[in-house]
């Protein structure tokens, strides 16, 4: 499989009152085309900063990020990789359909409304095309955001704690939905989460980050077949191993 994202020796510091605060202390990894990689780490370890750098919203102090097909003049974010974050960014002043059509402004997208409605149906929003976001629940908003990303056919989905603002039940449901959609349209996914079970349920590979300045502490390959049962002994064993890496002893 070809390499989709290649991260080499990325470092990043923030300036604070007490001098520079190193956040990322040299991270290297690569993600294959179509792979689902999860990054877990303690809160405040710089996970989101790392994702912002990879997605092009921030610049690394040193090191390189190469995204295949994006060329070398990659200086900022691009619709090739869409970010889905915790608090969401569905535009509240546009209807569901207008939100989905938002990214379709270039040419060559054919009938935009038709395409938008196709993806609305895919995420289970059929019948809500003319609704405004404030008329929808949190779970439905997440679906709008997911569909808005999918409709521009991105090669990569960057997901930063995508479901952590949802209630526990909706969180579980969205995981299953996401896997079903990824089955239909194969995307490369980079998921950032603090939820170990979420990572085990979905990812092909899980990287555990160390506290600040963060580095990759350990990598786990998840070879369990889908659909995964989190209560299975293999999944539980993996969960304990990851939690141990994060400094939590499971009794």
């Amino acid at each position: 499989m070809s390499v989709k994202i290649d991260v080499r020796n990325v470092t990043k510091s923030f300036t604070s009152d007490k001098g520079p605060l190193p956040v990322i202390g040299g991270v290297s990894f690569s993600v294959a085309d179509g792979e689902f990689v999860a990054i877990v780490g303690p809160s405040g370890c710089g996970k989101s900063t790392l994702m912002n750098i990879i997605a092009g919203f921030e610049r690394a102090d040193a090191g390189t990020v190469t995204v295949e097909g994006a060329g070398t003049d990659r200086n900022g974010p691009s619709p090739k990789g869409i970010v889905i974050s915790q608090h969401g960014s569905v535009f509240p002043w546009l209807t569901v359909q207008q939100n989905l059509m938002f990214g379709l402004n270039g040419d060559g997208h054919g009938n935009k409304a038709l395409l938008a409605d196709h993806y609305a149906a895919m995420v289970g929003l059929k019948g809500f095309e003319t609704s405004y976001p404030h008329e929808l629940s949190g779970g439905m908003l997440k679906r709008v955001e997911l569909a808005r990303a999918l409709v521009v056919k991105p090669e990569i989905l960057y997901m930063d704690e995508p479901f952590s603002a949802l209630d526990a039940l909706m969180n579980l449901r969205m995981r299953t939905e996401l896997l079903r959609i990824l089955d239909e349209e194969r995307h490369t996914v980079l998921l950032i989460t603090h939820d170990v079970e979420e990572a085990i349920y979905m990812a092909d590979r899980i990287m555990v980050l160390s506290p600040r300045p963060t580095t990759i502490q350990t990598t786990f390959d998840v070879s369990l077949p889908h659909p995964r049962r989190l209560s299975s002994p293999a999944a539980q064993e993996l969960r304990e191993a990851i939690l141990l890496e994060l400094g939590l002893q499971v009794i």
Partner: protein, 259 residues
């Protein structure tokens, strides 16, 4: 059709203010009758005075003249303030350069501009229009600018992520995000504009509600018409505010007022 319940709800909202107004009118009436004032009118004299002016048409001319001045000055202020406010909010350099100037001009009462307005534009329609422009342009600039400054970063990031053109960014993100703030600016603007037109018309014009009030006093102490003018000004002000509030019901700005 309104259901009986809905009518009941409306009555509950309308009755208390109506009762207070009725009480004020009653007290006013009693005091005037008891003191046997020769010059201060009873409520009924105000009503008959207003009807008299309405019948000979002068009342409508005055209202029309005032509304025309407010409408023109306010429209010009909107055309000037909204693009300027968007530009100042978006371009940091423009904000740093122009904001101090506007912040300095803003606290100057529009009434203070009256001598300059007369000097520059004489005593025709242009002076009050200029004063209305001056009074409503600053609040609208300030609101629009701060609207741009308070757009949530996540929306701008999403727009950057999808790589949309500048025109889409403005039409579908910046302007709709700022629209609720623009409407707030318009409400403030129309409020001051109405306040100022009456004051401006008191100076030297021959039409408008402000002129009507001053003229009624000067030409024979018609205090019934003075008070009628005041009440009409209040009612029209209420209607202007209500009209701008209707904008808050626009579907694209509902998000700002829910939750």
């Amino acid at each position: 059709m309104l259901t009986a319940g809905a009518i009941g709800m409306r009555l509950k909202r309308v009755l208390p203010p109506l009762a207070v107004m009725a009480a004020i009118v009653a007290v006013w009436w009693i005091v005037v009758v008891e003191t046997e004032s020769a010059i201060f009118p009873t409520p009924w004299q105000v009503v008959t005075g207003a009807l008299e002016l309405a019948q000979d048409g002068t009342l409508w001319d005055h209202i029309g003249a005032s509304l025309f001045r407010v409408g023109t000055g306010f429209l010009l202020a909107m055309l000037f303030a909204i693009p300027l406010g968007l530009w100042m909010g978006w371009v940091g350099g423009a904000y740093l350069t122009l904001n101090p100037i506007f912040q300095m001009l803003r606290p100057i009462s529009p009434i203070a501009w009256i001598p300059l307005a007369i000097l520059w534009f004489g005593v025709g329609d242009v002076s009050p229009i200029f004063l209305i422009f001056i009074s409503s342009v600053f609040p609208m600039i300030v609101q629009t600018t701060s609207g741009v400054h308070t757009i949530e970063r996540r929306y701008l990031r999403a727009a950057a992520n999808f790589g949309v053109s500048r025109s889409v960014l403005f039409r579908q993100v910046v302007i709709p995000a700022v629209l609720p703030q623009i409407i707030v600016g318009m409400r403030i603007g129309i409020g001051v504009a109405w306040l100022v037109v009456v004051a401006a018309e008191m100076i030297a014009l021959r039409s408008g509600l402000g002129y009507m009030i001053m003229d009624s006093r000067n030409a024979g102490n018609r205090y019934d018409l003075v008070i009628a003018g005041m009440i009409i000004i209040g009612l029209i002000g209420l209607m202007l505010d209500g009209a701008t509030r209707l904008l808050e019901r626009l579907k694209t700005v509902r998000w700002r007022y829910v939750r």
